[in-house]
Assembly symmetry: C2
Homo-oligomer: 405 residues x 2
């Protein structure tokens, strides 16, 4: 029989709903008589090595519910990628505290950490069950219909572009919004859900799944601008040229990389500035503006999908159920069962760990600069209830008196 | 007796609630028997010169209410600054359409436009009454307690920093958020309303009302970072050195200026990148991130203060009442009458036009990097109801077993 002590940690980038999953684990675990203590590791696996735990069993259910509704990672997060020595240090701590269940909430890097820890535990003969709980705004976990955190970030992006489109219609010009997404274009594609009228922006959407060609880009912008007198563009930070080189990379002065080898793309405006300069210089368009959505899109307080909140809670609850009513380590995955309804399955960790899901071809229009109706139907129910809406004047024209039409 | 035709226009940067003022004018005007037609000028004064009007009398009240709830400027906006020839062209059009009431919704530049048009009308002997209706997210109109549009933008900034603070606590480092505000720091100072716990960010707030010294800035950041292991910073795009030079200006490659002589500050990440580089190089801090809030803070769909919505509607209604029950041109102003309650007065246009209000000294802490309680009390009621809130785990520490504390 297990020790009764379980441990939960959060890894990778914070999201609007990662704390829902944390609280799902804590509250569900308390309902199992096998569980005596629920510990939380501060700053992910780093907190395991450092033996830096908080006792979540001592939290009140009221405060846990309030934390569940708060974005970011209440336990703190980490970008550490454990190697063998790191994992052995973790075992020592886990053994000392008689912890035999480890729940790790995170993206594909965190899934990989979970896999390594599970494998090292097995090799060391330590009875540790490891459950990975999905989370990433990038929506790039394989074996999942979508990942908790993505719907809320997608909602932010859709609402942001709905507003940027209105702003750009009021003061016409070219507007470029740079959206997170290193490899997968899901979040950038979500900008399309901000459109309502046929001439609304974003008029052009560039995702990493399609090679970015500067001349083609300029021709696309020219065509839209000549037709509408304005152009709203959504660009993924991860766009690459035909050779696979990041468009943003030559401009990142420091090339900061995290432990997973990822170049830091967010947190600077280099790509936005480059594209603005191109449009200004080559197309001779004067009013060109850009925003890099940066950290706002993942941490803004007050933009959340209720569907996302509910599912994030559920994957936490299911993780505990899979752990105590099953026999295996694994990763909790989300499957779509209806329009709209979802269910959850546990899959072996290697099926998810370290792999990157890209947008299906069926989601990207033949033009390469728009999404399909299949994508709109895929995303819409995830955005949840109460999406704000935009309206315009019907605008009956007044006949001219001085300069007849 | 006036002709019965009135004209309304919107100028300057769009806001979350400028359409409330537009709809306030339209719906209130229809209740006056003197009014037969309510025209809207497309893209502000430019629409007057171009004789580009829509007949708002033909809109349904239902659609007007939906437009009122939509951000940006439904009629379109402009940055044009009319000179004498421009104004004479306007008169020709206004005369031809027998328009004798002109309502112009906008900031201090638009107030100045309204003043010029009123003066030119007087000089030309044309019976035009001009009413300026306040609007600006910068909150920099004199003679006003605050301006419609500012509360909603302030709410966005507060919610954004509440989230950025949580994100920064989860993955510690230095975070810099660059906020709009060419001369006045109100919007940047609003970041302080995102704080809840004593160690929450923003830990440092830099407004244009105080000279920005690089060495002082670096020392401030160092001190916070050494104490908390992280630092969240709010910076106004308009910060200047002791000689009055914009910190951002040397980096703006194009120095684009609008018709009012304003350098384009938003829409590029130059200031954010400069400050990041300074912190990285000089303080040897590795994880440094920045966002330039750009157009998100003024156009995001779905972040609005209900107090702001209501008052923006009211200034539109009052403008019509002042026009038909009074004798003068003027600018509608907001006065605070209680905690919290407001009323409206019409003041002569020259009292508002072209002037810039800065933050009171009483709103800025002696340190120069924080706001005072007076500012918090000033701003809090304007943010409206339903502000999202952030919570944290109480976090009972688990005693170490391997490495005793």
């Amino acid at each position: 029989m297990p020790s009764g002590r379980i441990l939960v940690a959060q890894g990778g980038g914070p999201t609007a709903v990662i704390n829902q999953s944390l609280v799902g684990v804590v509250l569900e675990a308390r309902r199992f008589r096998e569980v005596t203590r629920v510990y939380g590791a501060r700053h992910g696996v780093r907190g395991v090595v450092d033996e830096d735990f908080v006792d979540l069993t001592q939290e009140t259910s009221h405060n846990l519910e309030l934390v569940a509704g708060t974005p970011a990672a209440a336990l703190g997060s980490t970008r550490d990628k454990p190697d063998l020595a790191y994992c052995r240090a973790m075992f020592e701590v886990l053994r000392a505290h008689e912890i035999e269940h480890f729940f790790n909430i995170g993206g594909n890097d965190s899934a990989d950490v979970t896999r390594i820890v599970a494998e090292e535990a097995l090799a060391a003969g330590y009875p540790l069950r490891c459950i990975h709980i999905p989370k990433t705004i990038d929506n790039d976990l394989v074996a999942n219909d979508h990942t908790p955190g993505f719907p809320s970030a997608a909602r932010f992006v859709a609402q942001a572009f709905a507003g940027a489109n209105l702003d750009n219609a009021a003061l016409p010009g070219v507007y470029i919004g740079v959206v997170m997404g290193r490899h997968a274009g899901f979040l950038t594609a979500a900008s399309s859900l901000g459109k309502k009228f046929p001439d609304d922006g974003p008029h052009l959407i560039y995702v990493p799944e399609r090679a970015f060609e500067v001349e083609r880009f300029l021709a696309d912008v020219r065509a839209i601008y000549d037709r509408l007198g304005r152009c709203v563009i959504a660009v993924s930070e991860g766009i690459r040229d035909a050779a696979g080189h990041l468009i943003a990379e030559p401009m990142s002065r420091d090339h900061e990389r995290d432990a997973h080898g990822n170049v830091q793309l967010s947190g600077n405006g280099a790509l936005a500035d480059l594209l603005c300069e191109l449009v200004r210089q080559r197309l001779q368009i004067k009013r060109v503006r850009a925003d890099t959505f940066g950290y706002l899109q993942r941490s803004f307080v007050g933009c959340v999908s209720d569907v996302d909140q509910r599912e994030a809670r559920e994957v936490g609850e299911k993780a505990v159920q899979f752990a105590f009513w099953g026999e295996d380590s694994g990763s909790v995955t989300i499957r779509r069962t209806g329009f709209y309804s979802a269910d959850f399955q546990l899959v072996p960790l290697p099926e998810v760990a370290g792999k990157t899901r890209l947008m299906d071809d069926a989601f990207i229009a033949a033009s390469g600069t728009d999404v399909t109706d299949a994508f709109r139907l895929y995303l819409r129910p995830l955005l949840g209830s109460g999406m704000p809406d935009a309206y315009r004047l019907r605008g009956a024209r007044v006949a001219r008196r001085l300069k007849p039409d």
